[in-house]
């Protein structure tokens, strides 16, 4: 017993079972230090001076508030202030400066008032005890028991059980409503709108591309040609489709390309096409260095070597950018040989 008690905080000797536990102070309480008077406490002139200071600040704040109203009406909306390399809208600037300074003066005036003039005697306020008295505890328990007895909750079993059943069943709708988080994407994450024979077109201008249009070092931010009809149907669908199907097309000297096994005929004369969506968390990337053939993601610096199957050479991305196999159609334009052979963008649960 004594050993156990040795680990507990020391308690005063005279306390009984229900008496309050008083923790000994780890260091002696130094108490409140002696109060020192301020200059304004002993010198009425100094106090008057501070009063004038504070009232000046408040007065100025009021004038500035009026000034902001004047500036709002008096300064033309399109007036421009040029101050060296800085330019600004004169109306905005005057309004902001007046209001900002006005609030600032009210603030520092109030603090100055509190610090210099208001009573500054230190007082200590002890925290009250957090627990209830034994009498309060028994009263509350008695009242609860009385309520239980009067309601008949323990006696009327049918009511109690049906209530418990109803409350339990109320949990069900909450679970059923989770269905609205779905439906599950199904194969949507695996596919884009790219398919066999879809032309590669310029993003924005939507012009199809011929291999002869591209010279070594070229970068084209491109999209599938079947994106445009979707725009007429639904803007949301268009954005969803574009977010997944965006690609970059580059032309690299053919002898610098290290084609991956099974992908030897995926390019056209050194023209390669990769997904524009970073495989880390899906940022669109087109920060391309033509001499190194590296494309860099601005979000987390994942770097892919486009001449080497878009292999990750730096950064947190876990897999290469998916490559779109290219071919040339009968009119000489670049088309996809097929859709992407793997999901584009960030990894997801089922894919691992």
């Amino acid at each position: 017993m004594n050993d156990e008690k040795a680990n507990l905080p020391a308690v005063s000797a005279e306390q009984g079972h229900d008496s309050q536990v008083v923790l000994a102070e780890p260091i002696p309480d130094p108490g409140i230090e002696p109060h020192e008077l301020r200059i304004t406490d002993i010198d009425p002139k100094a106090a008057d001076r501070v009063e004038r200071q504070v009232s000046t600040m408040f007065g100025l704040a009021g004038l500035l508030a009026l000034g902001s109203c004047v500036a709002y009406f008096a300064i033309p909306r399109d007036a421009t202030l040029v101050f060296g390399p800085l330019t600004g809208n004169a109306n905005n600037l005057a309004l902001g400066l007046c209001l900002g300074l006005s609030l600032f003066l009210i603030g520092i005036g109030a603090i100055q008032w509190a610090k210099k003039l208001m009573v500054d005697t230190e007082i200590a306020e002890e925290r009250h005890d957090a627990h209830s008295t034994p009498q309060q505890k028994t009263e509350i328990i008695d009242a609860f028991q009385e309520g239980v007895a009067e309601s008949g909750f323990t006696r009327r079993k049918m009511i109690r059980r049906s209530l418990i059943a109803a409350m339990g069943l109320l949990g069900l709708p909450a679970i059923v409503l989770l269905r609205d988080l779905g439906p599950l994407p199904g194969r949507a994450l695996y596919n884009t709108i790219w398919a066999k024979g879809i032309r590669v077109v310029n993003d924005v201008t939507l012009r199809p591309i011929k291999p002869s249009d591209l010279i070594v070092g070229q970068l084209v931010n491109a999209a599938p040609a079947n994106l445009e009809p979707i725009l007429e149907e639904s803007h949301t669908e268009y954005q969803n489709a574009k977010a997944k199907a965006a690609v970059i097309v580059v032309r690299i000297e053919p002898d610098k390309i290290r084609a991956q096994a099974g992908r030897e005929n995926w390019g056209v004369d050194g023209i390669l096409c990769y997904s524009k969506i970073c495989t880390h968390v899906g940022c669109p990337i087109s920060l391309y260095e033509q001499t190194t053939h590296h494309v860099l993601c601005p979000c987390h610096q994942s770097t892919f070597d486009l001449a080497d199957g878009a292999k990750v050479i730096f950064g947190p991305a876990a897999r290469p950018l998916p490559q779109l196999p290219l071919a040339v159609d009968s009119e000489g334009y670049l088309v996809a040989q097929s859709g992407f052979t793997e999901p584009v963008g960030a990894s997801f649960w089922e894919r691992g």
């Binding site: 008077l37 301020r38 800085l86 070229q218 970068l219 087109s286 391309y288």
Partner: protein, 288 residues
């Protein structure tokens, strides 16, 4: 009768026979002869003059090249090593006049020292010398020519075209050059330069030739009208005012966050310290 005829002056001889049946034929022959001899007298001379002027320019460019460029790019612009197996300057065969005009016109070439990136600086050559250098390099092999002035003339561009230029800019350029054309960092000490206050011609040439790390945006893909719209957008960005006064480099959350954290929160901390600080006390005056 015959003596009398022979004594006629040539003018009278001709005028007397102007209604002769073969007169028309003779006049025609004379005319053809005159036109032919006039052509042979003038036309070849002009062609020779043109050729001479051009070859003189190429010759001048070659001389300038030998002095200012050959130490890195090789005597015949075939590219050169630095003597340690590394490339000092790439081959310029086929880069075209546009690349020369951009590199020399923006002062990037001649480079002061090799490095991760050759910076823009005041050009070292006069426009005539740059033209000569460009003519020389263009004479080595075909490549993109210096664009005609009307292809980057933005004086007649409409607001709609500026908006379109913005769309093209955000799709193709912002990844490196920042959404406000202020430039940005690339790996290994390289960077995409700011596009503010760049000559429209040089912006056009940069897209056309892809200098340093920049990819090429050929005229077939990003067509001259597209390029003009991009330039117009950049010029509109240059003129855009920062309504708050401070643009903070228009670098987005980085500089704005830095300003907010250091200046804004710093100021708040300072005020908090002031509020909590003890004021000046009257020495020796204790409360009763």
């Amino acid at each position: 009768m015959s003596e009398k005829r022979l004594s006629l002056s040539p003018a009278r001889f001709l005028s007397a026979r102007r209604r002769h049946r073969s007169a028309g034929l003779v006049v025609l022959l004379f005319g053809l002869l005159a036109v032919g001899s006039a052509y042979s007298a003038f036309a070849p001379d002009n062609a020779v003059a043109d050729n001479t002027a051009q070859s003189q320019q190429i010759e001048e460019g070659k001389k300038l090249f030998a002095v200012g460029c050959a130490s890195c790019h090789g005597l015949n612009a075939e590219g050169g090593g630095n003597g340690e197996g590394k490339e000092a300057g790439p081959s310029l065969i086929g880069v075209g006049a546009a690349a020369v005009d951009f590199q020399v016109g923006t002062g990037r070439m001649p480079a002061m020292q090799p490095g991760a990136q050759i910076p823009r600086k005041t050009p070292s050559y006069t426009p005539a010398e740059i033209e000569a250098l460009a003519a020389y390099v263009a004479s080595l092999a075909p490549g993109p020519a210096v664009p005609a002035e009307e292809s980057y003339d933005i004086s007649k561009v409409t607001d709609e075209q500026v908006t379109r230029g913005g769309e093209l800019f955000r799709t193709n350029c912002t990844a490196c050059h920042n959404f406000a054309g202020k430039g940005g960092a690339l790996p290994n000490g390289r960077y995409a330069p700011s596009l503010m206050n760049v000559d429209p011609k040089h912006i056009y040439e940069a897209m056309l030739t892809g200098p340093q790390q920049m990819p090429v945006f050929s005229d077939q893909v990003l067509q001259p009208d597209d390029k003009r719209d991009v330039i117009a957008y950049l010029k509109a960005l240059e003129e855009q005012k920062d309504p708050g006064g401070f643009g903070l480099g228009r670098l987005g959350p980085v500089s704005e966050g830095l300003w907010g954290w250091l200046v804004g929160i710093g100021l708040l901390v300072g005020v908090a310290v002031w509020i909590g600080a003890k004021g000046v006390k009257a020495k020796g005056a204790k409360a009763e």
